[in-house]
Amino acid sequence: MTNPMANPKWTLPESSTLSRLTREALFRTVAANLEKLGPDATWADTVNGRTLDLLSADDGKRIAEEVFEQFQMIEGRKLFAGCEVALKERPDLYVLRSAAEVLEERLDWPEGVVGDGDNVFQAAADIEGEVLVVREVSEVDRLMRDGVPEGVIGVIDDAGGTMTAPILEEFEGVICLAGTVRSHLAIISREFGVPVLMGARLKRPLVNGERVRVSYTAAAQNVDAYFGDTVNPRAEVRTIDEAA
């Protein structure tokens, strides 16, 4: 029996090499397993009752290994992980996505501006503070015990609402290197009244202890910008020393 879904009239290419490789491997495996069932097997009988014959747990393991091998040959890197524990358990498979930091070459940024971002809400005042980069769960654990020092602007690369959950309200402000003004972190920061820039772009990494001023008084980013409406100017991140 051939797979009735195997030969569509047309398709669009997947967005990534990994998607394409995985889809091809899945289809190859299902096709081979269908072949093994013989000519008398019908799709209606197979699709549910023998679904584990079409794709077994062993097939899943083999596909994952094959695809990773092909992926490394084509892309020359490990897979990206967002979650820290995934990397901790499988350092052979993963590198943290946030480790592959992309810096911006923005010639039109005024002198002293090292980055910008989408403001979640328009704060009453801009904030000047000391940078504290928080990228690991263990660091949050430590700050949860010791407390966040006063006057700190947190720099984080996780737009989720949980990574910095126990310490978020202790920051003067936050610069988040990912996400949008509708991400979970944005939702929570709005509730806490902690100013946050989302989807921040930097022309160089910010380092612990350096002082920055963030224009949290800039207009909040227009959520309808995602649907083609006007994009508001992004809030600026300035280093105090360079600005001086």
């Binding site: 967005s15 699709v47 897979l79 996505r97 328009q122 979970h184 929570i188 083609g228």
Partner: protein
């Protein structure tokens, strides 16, 4: 085997529901670009929960609906916070459909396979939502411009009358509670917003709006990771009533409230607090004897949630990756559990394992592929599934292109909804249900500790047996004739009839200002009653007036 068949009218209706569901999904997914978390393996659990939903939701819900109709479930959800919310019900259908999409893309399913299950799931969702939104008669919040009203006048009048005017202390306490509750909910629900719910906005005249924020599954409940961690959390569900002056409120199909301006806390003029659960038939006021008591209660509850947040963070940070993926799947999977809770057929073991048909995908859905597949399948609409023809325009991506001035290339003709082909009307060579033997076909394993503590209710802590017995014994005049069929249209022209009046009095029984007032109240009466109680009418409580008092 069932001899169920679909006719053309049903098929066309089914496909139009599938397409609308897809449009709403894509619209809401478009702005959620951050799909990773350092703490939780979000994308693997998100993509794999879809399979468990596909394999098990139909039979679990079939069992529940054999005892209680989707209309009755929607009615219960309208009266109290019972676990079936805007977002969990959205999830019940969409997780199932996304599992179907994923299986089609893997070459393991055709769009026509398990057609009876598909029709059942779409039918369940629409019937529930129509009942839940009885007065606004809508299925999707998006269809009314992100308005998600569910409460009826008799409840809204109680919320409006009983809310306390917010001085700076109460306003601050409400804001802190909302922040702590939102943050804790994200953590309890493994970074998802499944535990958050909002209803409204409801107009109170001039610039005033009222909306409710519900926080669900806060205490020891269906999630084993809250055992011990949340033993100090008093209430499982809390509903905050917020009255604002001069803030726009919208509520999406994800049940999330957004405001304009974004920092709306200064616009809060009134606050109320309630608890409820699926064993209640009405809201129970919490700390509502005075504004001072409400302020203190909100601060105390905030502290409870902060302690639990820290304890839960530590528990999650000790889990393995597999355990966290499982926890995330259980959170999403539990979206459909309210049917069995209400019906008194809930079995914890049904909701705490990963089906072996899902488990086979475990190594495939690594962190990066899970995100890529999500983008392809549910945002960019690329790949094998794409559109059926290259003439298609997706209304969301095409709308963005059009509003952006029709510059650049046309968006790809992607389409996520896998419509059912019309040849099923002539050829019946397709399966009807995914499980020929019902739930007996679902087997699996779990690496998380089994739940060990009782469940938290307004009436106290209950074991699984006690909870199911109480659910089966539950009764309320609100769920019986004639009251259950008295809706807003009935009230408008029959408000002087004794039964309508009795219904209003029942809803007002726990109200501090409206008890015994009956069905004749209009807004002017509520203003008068508040003044008689020594409180200001909401029309007198503006942000400017507050600023003048402060000055």
């Amino acid at each position: 085997m069932s001899d169920w068949r679909i006719d053309e009218q049903q098929l066309l209706q089914l496909n139009s529901h599938l397409q609308r569901t897809d449009d709403v999904l894509i619209h809401n997914c478009l702005t959620r670009t951050a799909q990773e978390s350092k703490l939780f393996p979000i994308m693997p659990y998100l993509m794999m929960c879809f399979y468990d939903a596909y394999y098990r939701f139909p039979d679990l819900l079939r069992e529940a609906t054999s005892i209680m109709s989707p209309e009755d479930m929607g009615r219960r959800a309208r009266e109290v916070v019972c676990g079936a919310t805007q977002v969990t019900t959205w999830g019940t259908l969409n997780f199932y459909l996304n599992g179907r999409t994923n299986l089609i893309r893997a070459g393991l399913l055709r769009p026509e396979d398990n057609l009876e299950d598909l029709c059942f799931m779409v039918d369940y969702h629409h019937r529930f939502m129509r009942s839940y939104h009885r007065s606004s008669a809508q299925v999707w919040a998006l269809d009314s411009g992100d308005i998600a009203q569910s409460h009826e006048e008799r409840q809204l009048q109680v919320f409006e009358a009983d809310a306390f005017e917010a001085d700076s202390a109460l306003r601050s306490a409400a804001a802190k509670f909302t922040a702590a509750g939102t943050q804790y909910s994200f953590l309890v629900h493994c970074e998802s917003r499944v535990g958050l719910q909002a209803s409204g906005p409801y107009g109170l005249g001039e610039r005033r709006l009222m909306h409710t924020r519900d926080f669900t599954k806060l205490a020891e409940c269906d999630f084993s990771w809250l055992d011990g961690v949340a033993d100090g959390v008093t209430y499982d569900n809390l509903s905050l009533v917020l009255i604002t002056d001069g803030a726009g409120i919208e509520i999406s199909d994800f049940g999330t409230a957004y405001s304009s301006p974004e920092a709306y806390q200064d616009k809060i003029t009134g606050v109320g607090l309630y608890t409820s659960d699926f064993l209640c038939d009405r809201y129970v006021p919490v700390g509502m004897d005075s504004a001072k008591q409400l302020t203190e209660t909100l601060l105390q509850l905030t502290e409870e949630l902060k302690v639990a947040t820290r304890r839960l963070y530590s528990r999650f940070s000790e889990m393995t990756n597999d355990q966290m993926v499982e926890a995330g799947i259980y959170v999403y999977f539990q979206a459909a559990s309210i049917g069995t809770h209400l019906a008194g057929t809930y079995r914890q073991k049904d909701w705490e394992f990963i089906d072996e048909r899902t488990r086979r995908f475990w190594p495939v859905f690594n962190e990066e592929y899970s995100l890529d597949a999500y983008v392809d399948n549910f945002a960019a609409l690329l790949g094998e599934n794409a559109a059926d023809t290259d003439y298609y325009l997706h209304p969301v991506s095409y709308g963005v292109w059009r509003r952006g001035g029709a510059k650049g290339p046309m968006p790809t003709p992607g389409r996520n909804a896998s419509l059912v082909p019309s040849h099923v009307l002539d050829s019946h060579d397709y399966s009807l249900r995914v499980n020929a033997n019902g739930l007996a076909d679902a087997r699996g394993t779990s690496s998380l500790p089994a739940k060990s503590t009782p469940y938290t209710f307004v009436q106290g802590k209950l074991s699984e047996d006690e909870m199911n017995a109480a659910a089966r014994a539950w009764s309320s005049p609100l769920a019986q004739s004639p009251w259950k069929h008295i809706d807003e249209r009935t009230v408008k022209f029959h408000w002087q009839e004794p039964e309508v009046d009795a219904l209003y009095r029942y809803s007002q029984e726990r109200s501090r200002l409206l008890a015994g007032r009956g069905a004749s109240l209009r807004r002017a009466d509520i203003d008068r009653i508040r003044r008689e109680a020594g409180e200001r009418a909401w029309s007198e409580v503006t942000v400017e007036a507050r600023a003048e008092v402060a000055a």
